[in-house]
Amino acid sequence: MINSPYIRKPASVQSVMLQVLLALVPGIAAYVWFFGAGILVQLAIASAAALAGEAAMLAIRGKPKALFLTDLSAIVTAWLIALTFPPIVPWWLTVTGTLLAVVIVKQLYGGLGQNPFNPAMAAFCLMIVAYPALMSQWPAAGQLDFKTQLDLIFGGARQVDAITGATPLDALRTALRSAASADSELHGLRASQLMDGPAFGALGGKGGEWVALAYLLGGLWLIQRRIITWHIPAAFCGALFLTAGLLWSVRPDSFASPLFHLASGGAMLGAFFILTDPVSGATTARGKLLFAAGAAVLTYVIRAFGAYPDGIAFATLLMNILVPIIDMKTQAPVFGHKKD
């Protein structure tokens, strides 16, 4: 029987997810512009794999397929996977990563709404541990034409070294480390000088900074649409800026500038699209601030001192673990119990 309220706002999971996908479109467009159309192929592969994996699991678990396949949540996961993996990983790697995310991290934990970990980020971590080399090849902007990209995605033989590009983050860290050692040819160069190389743009990586900017735009639109709140992006960017700024102001020669950190890697994607995943993230206002700030500091630490190219994925998972306790400890006072 239906009880009150008898009226409802026209809202649905599907429309929420659809808006998230739409907000990713500017970023994807910039991605294609600077790095080639290969990413579109990856998006398609990941989407297909996600839907297939989801359909199979729904069938096994006896859940209504039409309802859950059209909620678009699997597509969001798929797109985040495609956008965080290097664009030239072989197709089977994208498929494996997506299936891991959808089948294990999401469906085995109970499906939509039940997963404690961000599926896309869990897949990223598993894949980078399993295939560190493949997961660390980042072509520079304009380096590869579409045909080469297709060959790399679908072809067998791989010329790993020839196309090896570390991410700008990686490159800078490596360069900074060798600049610090006396017997390197880079010895004595400052971060700003190191960033004159062809891989770098005005702020972050060449091309990458524009993609980041496009993600930022999409993210701001999500805030304006009230799909996400400002807390997580603001806290993440703020904390990343402060942490990076602190070390940079102490030793500008050995650390990248805070703006570089914000414009590089997955920072914008993380701030607006990954950490804001409602299911695995914190839900209270104060909790969101803590959650995102924690993720930012961890991201920075992994970037600056770790061995992986970017730290967003690990930082997200680590903070996911803390979500229940963060949420519990940050419940806002209820009506009539505020102390003001």
């Binding site: 029987m1 239906i2 009880n3 009150s4 309220p5 008898y6 009226i7 409802r8 706002k9 809202a11 649905s12 999971v13 429309s15 929420v16 678990r61 859940k63 209504p64 309802l67 859950f68 909620d71 949540s73 109970g110 499906g111 939509l112 709404g113 039940q114 709140t229 409602p278 299911v279 993230g281 839900t283 209270t284 949420d327 419940q331 806002a332 006072p333 209820v334 009506f335 009539g336 119990h337 505020k338």
Partner: protein, 562 residues
């Protein structure tokens, strides 16, 4: 002077749908063939019937006497013959029956000898008793006996008397029309209340989508020349008309759940109640009719002055229900309750008969799992985290639901309204509340609230217990006597009782521990007696009985997707 208004958290803005029912003035309703007047129409004890079959009654004659102070009288709404005093279906979703007086009107609608009171000479206590016997209860929907709320707090006076003309529920316009057409009389009622409460200021809160009502009330205030009364436009946002939300908006005070607002120097009454108080004090007329909005799936939505006891379909007919009508809802679309039949009577709580159809109020899309998007928390005017309470309600972890302040939920429905997963959140909360009350009742702890609430049960239980104790004492005495007589036997038997004692001590310790644990697990926020809590308890109790009623399924399906 512009007054500083305060905001309450959350709230929603559903389509108001109020325009159509305010185009025509309040209309009278022709006498129906029969009136069915339930005796129990307010929070508190059910009144005792004062008439029997065959009696001749006048309009305004008392037919149900208040049962103690927490109760309110009921009157014949027209003159006629009592055809029956019997249990009849009441206007509640449960379809349960309640003792009702069936009156066949004689068509003359003649008032009897009216019981008058000299307002100036009467003491406050006399006035309160008078209002109780005039059957005046809160007409905003809570039907709490008004005389009980007309006591100033401990200090003997009040800072602010808040008058609720917000009327935030979509479709409902009876308060709007009352203010437009009867502002002067309403204001006189307010003055009387102000006097009884010794209130310094009076603030009349009206949502800003009712400019005509606001203007009418302001004009009436100016004409009366009374100082310290102000009609204030407040932003239109559901549930601004919730008493707590309105008090917050107008005064900035947040009255916590379970506390009396008078402890904070505020009291709140609905505009319709103010009008009834005027009718009673000035003209000696008890509450025998009220304004009812008929809206929704009808050709001509309108407000009617309806005699209590009039069958709903008799009124709806006047507005022209459309053929696809499938239900009547008493109240608005956010909090209204579905009626079990079309001919249930209009009662004092009936502010609106919302006529529904599948097209107007379609069933919600399929329920999806919660994605923790937090929309519900953003919309909750009580600052709760509905999705957390939902989670624990489903798991039947009721202790946890209370840690998340389940009982602070005012069941406004905002959370269900916004949820993108279409989860009937408030159904889960109603369900949890009734479960908790049921458990509480089983536990029969003896706090005052429930002592009144279920006094009889408690007393019987105590008597049983006392009897058992007496029996036990007697048995113990006999045992001792026997033991004393048989004290001589050898040491072997002497050792045995001590073993028994040890065992008993152990068992007792374990039981004591269990008792303590149970006490700890007991709800923390249910031991209170403020009007809203009593109203809530009454509502929950009714639901509870509904759930136990064999023909009715229990509230929500607690299963659902895993």
């Amino acid at each position: 002077m512009l007054r500083k208004l305060f905001k309450f958290h959350g709230g929603v803005k559903p389509q108001t749908n109020k325009e159509r029912s305010t185009t025509a003035p309040i209309a009278p309703v022709p006498l129906p063939d029969k009136l069915v007047i339930p005796l129990h129409q307010s929070v508190g004890g059910p009144p005792r019937p004062l008439v029997q079959r065959g009696d001749q009654v006048f309009k305004g004659q008392r037919i149900g006497a208040a049962d103690g102070n927490l109760s309110s009288a009921v009157h014949a709404s027209t003159s006629g013959i009592v055809r029956d005093v019997l249990p009849a279906v009441m206007p509640h979703t449960s379809g349960l029956t309640t003792l009702s007086v069936v009156i066949e009107p004689d068509g003359e609608d003649r008032w009897g000898e009216l019981d008058r009171i000299n307002v100036r000479a009467a003491t406050p206590d006399e006035l309160r008793d008078y209002l109780r016997d005039a059957g005046v209860v809160g007409l905003g929907g809570a039907v709490f006996p008004s005389h009980l709320k007309l006591k100033p707090g401990k200090e003997g006076s009040l800072d602010t008397l808040v008058i609720n003309g917000a009327e935030c529920e979509p479709f409902i316009t009876c308060d709007d029309m009352l203010m437009r057409e009867r502002a002067t009389d309403m204001l006189k009622g307010i003055s009387a209340m102000r006097h009884m409460l010794q209130a310094r200021d009076v603030l009349i809160g009206i949502e800003d989508n009712k400019p005509e009502a606001l203007a009418a009330v302001q004009a009436a205030i100016t004409a009366s020349g009374e100082k310290g009364i102000e009609a204030i436009a407040i932003p239109t946002r559901y549930p601004a008309g919730g008493a707590k939300q309105l008090i917050r908006v107008l005064t900035g005070i947040e009255v916590p759940h379970g506390r009396r607002s008078t402890d904070f120097g505020v009291q709140c009454f609905n505009v319709g109640t103010a009008y009834s108080i005027h009718e009673a004090l000035e003209h000696g007329r008890p509450l025998v009719s009220r304004l009812v909005t008929v809206a929704g799936n009808v050709n001509a939505p309108r407000n009617y002055e309806v005699l209590i006891g009039t069958p709903m379909d008799h009124v709806v007919r006047l507005a022209g229900a459309r053929p696809d009508t499938d239900r009547y809802i008493m109240g608005g679309p956010m909090m209204g309750v579905r009626m079990p039949a079309f001919d249930v009577p209009v009662v004092k709580a009936t502010n609106c008969i919302l006529v529904g159809s599948p097209a107007l109020f379609p069933p919600p899309p399929p329920e999806m799992p919660c994605i923790r998007c937090g929309e519900c928390a953003k919309a909750c005017p009580a600052d709760l985290a509905p999705f957390e309470m939902y989670w624990f309600s489903r798991a039947r972890n009721f202790g946890k639901t209370q840690e998340y302040h389940l009982f602070d939920c005012i069941e406004c429905g905002c959370c269900s309204f916004v949820c993108p997963s279409h989860i009937p959140l408030v159904d889960y909360f109603r369900f949890s509340k009734s479960e908790i009350w049921a458990r509480e009742r089983e536990k029969e702890a003896a706090d005052t609230a429930r002592e009144r609430f279920e006094f009889k049960n408690l007393r019987q239980e105590r008597e049983k217990q006392e009897k058992a104790e007496k029996l036990a004492a007697k048995a113990a005495a006999t045992r001792e006597k026997v033991a004393g007589e048989t004290a001589t036997p050898a040491a072997a038997t002497a050792a045995k009782p001590s073993g028994d004692d040890a065992k008993r001590a152990l068992i007792e310790a374990a039981m004591e521990k269990a008792r303590q644990q149970k006490a700890q697990a007991a709800p923390k926020n249910v031991d209170v007696t403020s009007p809203d809590v009593q109203a809530e308890m009454a509502a929950i109790d009714a639901r509870r009985r509904a759930a136990e009623h064999p023909t009715e399924a229990p509230p929500p399906p607690p299963a659902g997707q895993a």
